[in-house]
Amino acid sequence: MHEFVAQLVNGISLGGIYALVAIGYTMVYGIVELINFAHGDVYTLGSFFALAVFGALGVSGELHGAALAFDAGLALLVAAVCCGLIGMLLERVAYRRLRNAPRLAPLITAIGFSFILENAMQAWKGSAPLPFPAVFPNPTLHAGLVDVNAQQAFVVALAIVAMFALQLFVARTRTGRAMRAVAQDRQAASLMGINVDRTIAVTFLIAGLLAGTAGFVSGVYYQSTWFLNGFSAGLKAFTAAVLGGIGNLAGAMLGGFLIGIIESFATWKIGGQWSNVTVFAILILALIFRPSGLLGEAVPEKV
């Protein structure tokens, strides 16, 4: 039982990172029907920016108190903001011109940008895995059956806070309403006076912010990063978005946590080499019975 709980906690913290990245996939898909394959690399960039900030501040070990709040906060902020801006830049440079092109064109552009970002990171920091300073003290917290270390709690808390903030933003603000409108019908939204370009740019900004946050979190959690991390993590996060129902925010979160937990249990019960197989087998099964994902609604194809 104890081990079951421990594995559940492992899975939830892994899933928290997937969920943050999955939201970016799902938001962008929801609004422009583009699978932004470069998103996984934006996530990796987040950990690189955070690493650069820690490098500039001369942080190499555990921090406490005000130093922790300031340095880690700054790294998080820089990672999130820079990734947000890069997301926007990608949209402006690569996708906006292709918005009315056949769907394959932006898809291939996204794959191309994924390679460009990967190679830029390789040129920046080299192709070896990079150690990430263990900035957070990591005591184990005991609560009944549950042993959680502080980092895991931090990952999950940050993921949940980010998701609630996002839900509120989309549901309550004017920009959020504009986003929903553009997602439903771009032309009608523009006829109602909504600035479509700006709304789409904001969507990419938010997706990037969350990816940057996830990148920072993964660096802190694994104390390591490397330029190709985004490939497999991005694939899993995309899977999470599809499992939850692509285009649906709550679905992406649910999918992220589910995939993290499945992966963790598969490693535990079946063996590490089968974890990916199990994740994708479950995805296929889920899609056979619910083609639009767990929380997705069946929508007729837009023509």
Partner: protein, 403 residues
Amino acid sequence: MRRLAASVAALAFCLGFAACSSSAGPSGNTIKIGIDLPLSGADASVGRSTLNGMLLAIDQASKRGLPGGFKLEAVQLDDAVQGVHSPQQGVANVRTFVSDPNVLAVLGPYNSNVAAAEIPITNAAGLAQISPSTVSDGLTIGPDAAKLRRANPTKNAFFRVCTTDARQGAAAADFALKLGLKSAYIIDDNETYGLDLADVFEQDYQKLGGTVLGHDHIAKDTQDFKSLLTKIAAKKPDVIFYGGTTSTGAGLIRQQMFDVGLGGVAFMGGDGIPDIATVAGARANGTFYTVAAPNAEKLPSARTFVKDYAAAYHEPVGPYSANAYAAAQVAIAAIARSIVENDNKLPDRARVLAAVAKTDGLSTPIGKIGFDANGDVREPVLSLYAIKDGKSIFVDQINIKGR
């Protein structure tokens, strides 16, 4: 469209023609030695120091001069793609060497799975290939090796100056029990090298009286090992043995061991993890690894090499620098002998290959080298290192001839 097809056909014809015309014998007075190693990415730190060992030997030989006044030239190619050693890239590199008639020997590769892809090509071409570090058994021994040599079954073209996984796994099992580590949990990365190493360790460790608590394989590109390690923590092993390299998971596993309360447990592996501190940082402390070579700094015949290496590169020797130097020595000595046998004329690949196979008692920084019929060295010596404060400390070495 038809014009496109025609021009593609013409292009293919030209390429084919170029390939044919280049398969003529060597000419001119330059002899090339091809070098295939991972020179970028996670394996680069060991790849570079291995390359340096080879270049040092080639440099020194060039300065001494070859018989017949021939010039020696090293041609180096990187087999890492996106930072990880790639069998496909290795094959492409070796094809490049084969198509250059002046390449008379190939040094490398560093990794066993790359070697497994390359051996059929050098074997078919009759081009001598000498690896400093590929330790998988199946490359030279048994039915697996026979399959790799299918093109030319009687003419083995692959040699290595290191010992095999079987010997490395056996040595690691021996060392582990000597250190008082009586129960082990084994993880491997499911690659040629890692799987072999882990299997042999498991067998020998049990044979010598150790308890194996479990054996798991991991998926490629895994980043999160916490579930696996949580499972292992419940079994309380004395040591976790990892078959694989730093880039395939050793670094992250060592690091995450601390997150699930396994930080105090020893971590052990083969010669794929000497650079583990580049990923695990301070947490690499408590790692042990074997190297399929004697300690270069302890061997009298190695002192000159260590001195020359330091003078040339201003850094300490890497784990396989001495082996690399020895591999290059084997190739150079064989080339020199074949030139003499050929009346100071440019020898062909077959002659060089025969000379490499006849290598016997060649004095190198890793002892006297001679090959058996499989292309393996006759006197295997292995050493154990521990990582302390980011540095490798020599612990012990054994000769396990006949095990």
